[in-house]
């Protein structure tokens, strides 16, 4: 099978599905083409943890036999994908990006992996991640056994974390879509840095059974793809109640963007100060234009602000205490210090000392934050903010101190929507909206719990009008 034309690797799921159903290409040939690209380009980016060549080809062969008998299972059938190495795949290595878990193997696959397998989707690779999903707070992009994940738009820039491998792999066309996870920023940030579309679902909508536990009350699993529509289709296949996940919302998700509120009737909350004061000046033109495009599509823009609360401290206390409990054994016997990033190791060790009253205080503040959002969503349907306030940082700079000499505003407006939205379990989508000095810029849309169709539909209308999500890096 000859390699595909370069632009073909960047097709949407609907485009691949049409070719598979018409048998213009077989699932096996499609899988071979992506396996070849994963092996050729993946190592240059440090985006791949494990290529599942034989498994993928076997599964693709099964799909071809089904397609031949016209047993259609939906738009994802026969399409290769990658999963963050935080998700268990039965009898295959799952190392969580950390040296302590080298060679770790589980007997059962994560619920999400099994659901996608039933839909006929072809798992082709495990993708790299920041060690232990960065729960202790890390200083360098190199905090992973696979090395620093490089940004396909500029190899000396970082892809973001902790789902850097999934975002970089989709951006580079190594895979049509990927599954990532977010506790606080791990889908939205790498998608923004790599210029791909990512969805963080409502807490509990997607089962985490078989995923590495970092923070039981904040971990979410979501799709990373080329378009908002693709994210909706993938979420439909992934979501649903699961008795194996105590945090399951026991809700399914039907992808019906046509029934969501259309942009002309949508009230979008935003803060001009987020763009004009908080964002790096290089990002401002793209963000202004994105807001203007949404306005021109009929959205009603309303200036709003989050109440002044210690969002980052609250999220950090909850994540820290839960992560320290989840990895208590590593902290107790000193293996935590085998992590690649020293700051992450000491961060987790220090988190083990968080007093119970602080953890409970943080959870009580979370109640206030949830109440705040309930009020805010009385005024608006969706919140708009920059997905990140600066573009991808250089790969060897300390990322916890980036950007240097930042004079940007850290509070006010919707500046803290990242930790705030995660604390409240709200869905969010990262949407590419331009470039600054050759690096992607993105905005994020956030809405009420279980209203994913609203943000997906809004992003789909935006992506019909723009082509930022169609841009691809030169590799």
């Amino acid at each position: 099978m000859a390699a595909l034309a370069e632009e073909a690797y960047f097709q949407t799921l609907a485009e691949w599905n049409a070719q598979l159903r018409s048998r213009a290409i077989s699932a096996k040939d499609l899988t071979k083409a992506f396996l070849d690209r994963l092996e050729r380009i993946g190592p240059r980016l440090n985006a791949v943890a494990l290529v599942l060549g034989r498994d993928a080809l076997d599964q693709a062969g099964d799909v071809d036999r089904e397609l031949k008998r016209e047993r259609f299972k939906g738009v994802l059938q026969g399409i290769p994908y990658g999963a963050k190495d935080l998700l268990a795949v039965a009898n295959r290595r799952t190392e969580w990006g950390a040296p302590q878990f080298a060679g770790q193997v589980f007997k059962e696959s994560a619920t999400v992996i099994r659901k996608l397998q039933r839909a006929g989707v072809v798992l082709t690779a495990k993708l790299s991640m920041i060690e232990l999903a960065g729960g202790g707070g890390y200083r360098y992009a190199s905090a992973s056994v696979t090395g620093p994940c490089r940004n396909p738009w500029s190899m000396n820039r970082w892809a973001g974390g902790s789902s850097g491998g999934p975002a970089a792999a989709v951006a580079a066309g190594l895979i049509p879509f990927a599954i990532g996870s977010e506790t606080s920023g791990s889908i939205i940030t790498p998608c923004a840095f790599c210029g791909v579309t990512g969805l963080r679902p409502t807490y509990g909508l997607v089962s985490r059974a078989g995923a590495m536990a970092l923070s039981w009350t904040m971990d979410k699993i979501g799709p990373i793809a080329r378009t908002a529509e693709d994210c909706g289709r993938i979420l439909e296949a992934m979501a649903g109640g699961d008795l194996s996940d105590p945090g399951s919302a026991r809700k399914s998700f039907r992808f019906f963007p046509e029934y969501a509120t259309r942009l002309p009737a949508l009230r979008i909350g935003f803060s001009m100060a987020d763009i004009e004061e908080s964002a790096d000046p290089a990002l401002r033109p793209a963000l202004r234009e994105a807001l203007e495009t949404l306005r021109s599509l009929g959205a009603k823009l309303i200036d709003v602000a989050l109440p002044d609360r210690p969002y980052s401290a609250t999220a950090s206390t909850i994540i820290g205490a839960e992560a320290a409990s989840a990895f208590e054994d590593l902290i107790a016997d000193g293996r935590i210090h085998q992590l690649k990033d020293e700051r992450q190791a000491v961060g987790l060790a220090a988190a083990a000392e968080i007093p119970a009253v602080d953890y409970l205080r943080a959870c009580r503040i979370r109640t206030l934050i949830r109440n705040d959002f309930a009020k805010l969503f009385g005024q608006v349907d969706v919140l708009f903010s920059p997905a990140c306030y600066f573009a991808a940082p250089p790969i060897d700079e300390p990322i916890d101190r980036w950007p240097p000499q930042s004079g940007s505003r850290q509070t006010g407006g919707l500046r803290q929507i990242g930790p705030a939205g995660n604390l409240a379990g709200l869905p969010a989508m990262s949407v590419p909206c331009g470039f600054a000095d050759g690096l992607p810029v993105a905005f994020t849309l956030v809405s009420r719990p279980l209203t994913e169709n609203t943000i997906i539909a809004a992003a789909m209308e935006y992506q019909k009008r723009t082509n930022w999500h169609r841009r691809r890096p030169v590799l």
């Binding site: 009350t217 809700k251 206390t317 000491v346 968080i354 205080r361 979370r366 949830r370 379990g425 279980l450």
Partner: protein
């Protein structure tokens, strides 16, 4: 097949390693101690931020989103 010869350490080299390693180990330990102290200070600052929020006694903790 080509075999790599075992590494040869001269008596002088070995001596300097033996002398240097406790110093190096101490430096690593001091650096780690400093990093732990920094992390504790950061936690302490976060704790102070949490305590600055007025919480009525009846406000219960939210452990997770519940639909």
């Amino acid at each position: 097949m080509k075999f790599t010869p075992p590494t040869v350490i001269s008596r002088r080299g070995l001596g300097s390693l033996l002398v240097a390693s406790p110093v190096a180990a101490q430096a690593v330990q001091e650096r780690s101690q400093k990093a732990i102290e920094d992390a504790r200070q950061a936690r302490s600052a976060q704790s102070a931020q949490l305590k600055s929020v007025q919480l009525a006694r009846e406000i219960e903790p939210s452990f997770r989103f519940e639909p």
